[in-house]
C-alpha cells in the first residue's frame, strides 16, 4: 500500500517527524496498527538491516532509521497494547560486576533500543543478583551481559545459574558478549546466545521473538 511504502521509505531516510506524521495518518485512515507496524515500519527496518550488512549504509543511518521507528512507535504503542498485540521485548542489559568497561555494552544498548526493544541499562559493575532482580521486577524478556575482562566473566555464569534457580531458565533469554567471550563460552555456561557485535546482537535478540514484517 502506498502510504505504508511511504512510511518505510521515510523511515529508511531517518525522517523521524515525517514517519510519525504518516503513521498518524495511517491510523486515521483506519489501517490496522499491526499492519502499519509490520508492513511499514518493520519492513523499512528490515531493508535498513540488509543494507547495513552489505556496507551500503553505516551505523548512523541505522540509528536514524531506528529513531524514526521509535517516534512512530509512540503513536502505535497504545493502540497495539489496547489490541493485545505484543510489542517488541524488554531487555535488561549491563556490564558484569567488577567490569568498568561499557563502550561495547552501550553500543549494543543503543542498537537494541533503535530496533524497538525497551532497554533497561544497569550500567557497569553490575552484581549477578541485580540482573535477575530487575529482570523479574520489570518482567523482562532478555538479559544481556557484557565483560571485557577474563576475570569478570564468571559473573555471567552466576547469572545463568540464578536464572535457573528462580525457574526462569528458558523464559528469560540470556545473551552475552565482549572481547574475551566466545560462542563456546556462552554454550558452556548455558547462555542462550553470544553476539560478536552490536548489529549481530540485534539480529540475535530479534530471533528470540516471532518474526514480523516482510
Amino acid at each position: 500500500m502506498e502510504l505504508l511504502n511511504q512510511i518505510s521509505e521515510n523511515l529508511q531516510n531517518g525522517f523521524d517527524e515525517k514517519v510519525a506524521a504518516l503513521t498518524k495518518e495511517a491510523v486515521e485512515k483506519q489501517i490496522q496498527p499491526e499492519e502499519i507496524l509490520n508492513n511499514g515500519l518493520v519492513a523499512g527496518m528490515n531493508i535498513i538491516g540488509r543494507k547495513f550488512k552489505n556496507h551500503e549504509i553505516f551505523l548512523p543511518d541505522v540509528l536514524l532509521a531506528a529513531r524514526a521507528m521509535n517516534c512512530a512507535m509512540e503513536v502505535l504503542k497504545p493502540l497495539l497494547i489496547k489490541e493485545g498485540i505484543p510489542i517488541r521485548g524488554k531487555v535488561v542489559i549491563g556490564s558484569v560486576k567488577d567490569d568498568l568497561h561499557d563502550i561495547g555494552k552501550n553500543l549494543v544498548a543503543i542498537l537494541l533500543e533503535g530496533a524497538g526493544f525497551e532497554i533497561i541499562d544497569l550500567g557497569n559493575d553490575v552484581p549477578a543478583d541485580k540482573f535477575i532482580r530487575v529482570a523479574r521486577e520489570e518482567n523482562a524478556d532478555v538479559i544481556g551481559m557484557s565483560a571485557l575482562l577474563t576475570t569478570t566473566m564468571p559473573v555471567m555464569k552466576k547469572v545463568v545459574d540464578l536464572v535457573k534457580d528462580e525457574g526462569l531458565y528458558g523464559k528469560i533469554k540470556i545473551i552475552v558478549g565482549g572481547a574475551p567471550v566466545s560462542k563456546e563460552y556462552a554454550l558452556e555456561i548455558g547462555a542462550d546466545a553470544y553476539s560478536f557485535d552490536g548489529a549481530n546482537a540485534v539480529e540475535t535478540v530479534e530471533s528470540f521473538f516471532p518474526k514480523r514484517g516482510s
Binding site: H55, F58, P60, L63, L64, N106, A179, S182
Partner: protein, 486 residues
C-alpha cells in the same frame, strides 16, 4: 595543509638539471631515427647521421621547456573530464603491459587471454580509486603485431575510463589513433579532449630507438599526450648513486621533451619514468625497493621544478603472489608517490617486476589507493572550533553517532574501504568463514563483475571501432577476433 614529501633541495635540483643539460649538449644521445635526427639538425643540433649521434643545444632545451604545457587533462570515453595532471593532483592507473597474469583459480602465473582482458577492463570500470585504465597486459591469443592495438580496442569497448597505453611498433600507432578518432569523432575533438596517454621509453643509457622516438613524434603531431618512461638502473645502466641515476633520468627525459616540443610546440607531455635500483645479487630490477621509490619521487620533484606534470611506476610489487610483500611494497610506493604529488601513479595490480598483472591485487590495491588519496587530503578543521559545543553535545547525548556533525562529515572525513579489507572483530571474522585477503578479493571481483554496466558509447562508434580493428587484424591473417566468441 596538503602533506608533501620532498627529498631534494632546490639547490640540488638545479645542479642536477644543469648536469643533465651538460650531458645532452656535450656528450649527446644516440637516436636511431633519421627523421628525428633531421628535425634536430634543422633546429641547430649537431648531428652525425652515420653514428646516429646528436648533441642538443641549450637553446632548444629552453624553448622546449617554454612551450611544454604545465598540465595535461584527460577525458573519458564519454567526454567527461577525469584528470587534471598538474600541481599535486594525484591519480592512480594500473601497471601496464604485463606479459603474464596471476591465475585466480590456480594461483599460477600464466599467459593472459582476451577473456582475462575483458574481465580486467570491466573490473577497472568498477574500481573507484583507480582513475584510468592502462592496457595492463598483453592478450596472447591474438597476433603479436596487433597485441598493442587490440588491448586499446578492448579497453575502449568495455570501460569508459581514459587509457594509459603505448604502441609496440611504428605502424600500430595509426590504428591506435584511428580508434580514438572513432570515439571522439574528429582530430580536433581528440585534441580538445585527450583520451589516452602513450608511454614512450628511451633506452638506457642515453638512447632513443627508431620505434619509440617515432611514436613520440606521431603522438606530438596529433596532440596525443605522451609520458616519457626513462629507466636508468642504478649501478648497472646508470650510476650507482641515486643522484647519478637522477641526472641520467633528467637527461633522457629532457631529450624526450625536446623531441615532442620540436615536433609540435605545446603538445601535452608528462615527465614520467620507471627507474629502478639494480639488485646485484639477483640481477633484477626491484620496483618495490625503497631506492626505486626514492628515485621516482625525486624525478617527480625535478619534473615539478620544470613545471611539468609527472608520472612514475611506483605503486607495485615484485612478489609473485598476493602476499605480505605485495601489500607492503605497493603500500609504501603508493603512499610515497601520493605524498610526493606524482600526478599519474602507475602500478596497481602489478607483480613480479612489472611483468604480471593480478585482478585480485587490483582490488586490494584499489583500497591502498583509497587510503592514500585520503591521506593526501590531510587534516583540516571542519566546524571543529570552538570545540566546546560538540563536547557538550557528547556529554549530553552520551554518544555522537547520530549527531549532525557526524552525519555531515563522516563519509568525507573517513575513508571506508570495501569488503576486501578486514575490519571485523575476530569472532565475526571466524563466523564469516575465516577468509584470507585473497578469498575476499575473489568474491569482491565476482560482485563487481556482476554489477558491471556496459559503456555508453553509441552502436555506431562500436561498429566503427570493430571495423577498424578487424581490418588491422586481417592484415596479419586473423579473420575473427577472440572477444567476439566470449
Amino acid at each position: 595543509m596538503r602533506p608533501v614529501f620532498r627529498l631534494l633541495s632546490n639547490e640540488l635540483i638545479e645542479r642536477i638539471i644543469s648536469e643533465a643539460r651538460d650531458i645532452l649538449c656535450n656528450l649527446g644521445m644516440e637516436i636511431h631515427n633519421n627523421g628525428v635526427l633531421s628535425m634536430l639538425s634543422d633546429h641547430g643540433a649537431k648531428v652525425d647521421m652515420g653514428t646516429k649521434h646528436v648533441l642538443f643545444t641549450a637553446d632548444m632545451i629552453d624553448k622546449a621547456l617554454e612551450t611544454a604545457p604545465e598540465s595535461v587533462k584527460l577525458y573519458d570515453v564519454m567526454g567527461r573530464k577525469t584528470h587534471d595532471l598538474t600541481d599535486h593532483n594525484v591519480y592512480f592507473t594500473p601497471g601496464s603491459a604485463a606479459i603474464n597474469i596471476l591465475d585466480p583459480e590456480s594461483g599460477e602465473i600464466r599467459k593472459p587471454t582476451t577473456a582475462d582482458y575483458v574481465e580486467y577492463a570491466k573490473l577497472i570500470s568498477r574500481l573507484d580509486n583507480i582513475a584510468s585504465q592502462s592496457t595492463a597486459f598483453i592478450p596472447s591469443d591474438v597476433h603479436e603485431k596487433i597485441s598493442d592495438s587490440y588491448r586499446l580496442f578492448l579497453s575502449l569497448l568495455y570501460c569508459e575510463k581514459p587509457v594509459v597505453t603505448g604502441a609496440f611498433t611504428i605502424d600500430a600507432f595509426n590504428v591506435m589513433k584511428d580508434l580514438q578518432l572513432a570515439v571522439r569523432g574528429s582530430i580536433d575533438a581528440l585534441r580538445e579532449k585527450p583520451l589516452t596517454i602513450f608511454s614512450c621509453c628511451p633506452t638506457a643509457p642515453l638512447k632513443w630507438s627508431d620505434v619509440t622516438s617515432q611514436n613520440l613524434v606521431d603522438c606530438a603531431k596529433h596532440f596525443i599526450p605522451v609520458e616519457y618512461i626513462s629507466m636508468p638502473l642504478s649501478g648497472f645502466m646508470a650510476p650507482v648513486t641515486l643522484v647519478g641515476s637522477i641526472v641520467q633520468h633528467t637527461a633522457e627525459t629532457l631529450s624526450g621533451v625536446v623531441l615532442s616540443q620540436l615536433t609540435q610546440p605545446g603538445t601535452p607531455i608528462i615527465y614520467g619514468g620507471s627507474p629502478a635500483a639494480f639488485d646485484v645479487r639477483y640481477e633484477t630490477t626491484p620496483m618495490g625497493a625503497v631506492e626505486t621509490q626514492m628515485l621516482d619521487c625525486a624525478n617527480n620533484e625535478i619534473g615539478k621544478y620544470l613545471n611539468l606534470p609527472t608520472q612514475a611506476y611506483i605503486a607495485l610489487s615484485d612478489a609473485k603472489k598476493l602476499d605480505a610483500q605485495a601489500g607492503l611494497e605497493t603500500s609504501m610506493g603508493a603512499t610515497l608517490a601520493a605524498l610526493a604529488g606524482i600526478n599519474n601513479i602507475s602500478g596497481p595490480g602489478m607483480l613480479d617486476f612489472e611483468s604480471c598483472q593480478s585482478l585480485e591485487k587490483l582490488v586490494v590495491d584499489n583500497e591502498i589507493c583509497g587510503m592514500t588519496l585520503r591521506l593526501v587530503r590531510g587534516i583540516e578543521p571542519k566546524e571543529d572550533f570552538p570545540a566546546r559545543p560538540i563536547f557538550e553535545e557528547l556529554l549530553r547525548d552520551k554518544h555522537l553517532l547520530i549527531a549532525n556533525h557526524t552525519r555531515k562529515y563522516l563519509r568525507d572525513e573517513h575513508y571506508f574501504p570495501g569488503a576486501v579489507i578486514d575490519r571485523a572483530n575476530s569472532s565475526r571474522w571466524k563466523e564469516e568463514g575465516s577468509l584470507t585477503i585473497g578469498d575476499r578479493a575473489k568474491s569482491e571481483i565476482e560482485r563487481l563483475l556482476e554489477n558491471y554496466e556496459p559503456t555508453g558509447l553509441s552502436d555506431d562508434v562500436l561498429v566503427e571501432m570493430t571495423q577498424l580493428m578487424k581490418a588491422e587484424a586481417a592484415k596479419f591473417g586473423m579473420n575473427s577476433l577472440p572477444h567476439e566468441n566470449l
